[in-house]
Symmetry: C2
Subunit: 234 residues, 2 copies
DNA sequence: ATGAAATTAAATCAATCGTTTGACAGACTC
DNA sequence: GAGTCTGTCAAACGATTGATTTAATTTCAT
């Protein structure tokens, strides 16, 4: 059944992309066949190969569609942050905000539901195969390098090695939370509530900030987290 | 029937399991075919269906082989911990230690390399499909519930909802770190060093402990982490 | 309106998937 | 020794995979 179409002349290419995104988010990149995608998009089996050259080509398009904007917005936010504070170190919370906020920005640009979008992003950033198109990988590497430097400056005295490991742990918390949010609900028996996006972002930032600096510093006057904040004043 | 006379007969089943584990760790549960497994094990294609009923049966065996021991050791360690301290709350670091130490215990019981073992565990605990055999799922749920109570007692005044979310973030950091350790190395350009298992465990525990309590409490006299500790005295 | 290009549908490709079959050899019980 | 399990094997099963071909249709500038 077609879930995307409605207007039969909406560009087939676009319908394919949207169908692929929803299916990839739901079942993972591996478990979805070309026929699953074309069926859902109401298109012919050959359409994928016509428009994207191959299944892999479609995957690459889907990957690049969000990863690049997210990473570029991350970079832009970090640069704006550093411009703001001059040469001084940026509070860890603000670096983290620059790191995760782009997801909230891009989720609105997407036609996917919030839940599906984050599942998809979690799969993208969490998948190992990581056959990222070269362009995507390039942006990714430079972005990570920039954030490593920013964190290193915000956590003076910390060895580069430790900065990398804390970034890795921090990113793991973020990715896993995005990809498996509903698993938490299943295991907690509903005790995990139904937080808004802002609440979840805030929860992550506070958790990650504490982990990044590990009490080895005084919490630097953290900016009040935006959005509805009920549970936990700093 | 239980005569183990034939040496190569029992070995086939075992070889299949070990081959499957290595391949699953390397490429993920989805990307490995039955023929990949039987070829690597030097067995016939039909062997998997003969010994395990189906491919899914083999997957279930592989899943249960480590998940159950890990979760049971987690429970045992937590109970020993609570017995030790009487009714008092356990320091967060010690609860976390009970949560991750079993991986270090079980890695030695395994014939896989350290790297492959953790990749496999990361995939198991991180995969979403989570078609865990019912027995495995049962142990999993009770174990999580017990740890939630322990963390709640160690973090007084924290709402159950927040405890669940911090556990989720904590587990994400752990799982992602286990599954994608080599990704860190690739992205950091070698700047992430070559830490020992104990160093990595210690890094995780300190990161997670800080995130769990988020500076909302004084760090409770944490036990000195075992193993080689050079970088970061508490 | 016409011709060229774009896009589709339908059929088909070889390859691979998980699974099944039936035969066969060895080891055991009676 | 007949009968009966168990484990293994080559071979093949039908189904599905990603990809390709062929022909018909639509789109659009001229």
């Amino acid at each position: 059944m077609n879930a995307v179409a409605g207007d039969s002349k909406v560009a087939t290419k676009q319908r394919l992309i949207e169908a692929a995104e929803a299916l990839f988010a739901d079942e993972g990149f591996d478990r979805v066949s070309v026929r699953d995608i074309t069926t859902k998009a109401g298109a012919n089996v050959a359409a994928v190969n016509y428009h994207f050259g191959s299944r892999e080509g479609l995957v690459a398009v889907v990957l690049a569609r969000y990863i690049n904007p997210v990473n570029e917005e991350r970079l832009a936010r970090l640069e704006a942050l550093e411009r703001k504070v001059g040469g001084k170190p940026v509070p860890v919370e603000e670096v983290l905000e620059a790191f995760v906020r782009p997801f909230a920005t891009q989720v609105r640009r997407s036609e996917l539901s919030e839940k599906l979008f984050f599942k998809l992003m979690g799969r993208m950033f969490g998948q190992e195969g990581c056959n990222l198109p070269p362009v995507v990988e390039t942006v990714f590497v430079t972005m990570l390098s920039r954030f490593q430097k920013a964190f290193a400056k915000s956590l003076p005295g910390l060895a580069a090695e430790d900065v990398w490991w804390r970034i890795h742990l921090m990113a793991g918390a973020m990715i896993h939370t995005m990809a498996h949010a509903e698993t938490l609900q299943r295991f907690s028996g509903g005790d995990s509530g139904s937080p808004t996006l802002e609440q979840t972002l805030s929860r992550f930032i506070r958790f990650a900030a504490a982990g990044m600096r590990q009490g080895s510093e005084e919490p630097q006057e953290a900016e009040k987290p935006k959005g509805p904040q009920v549970e936990f004043p700093f």
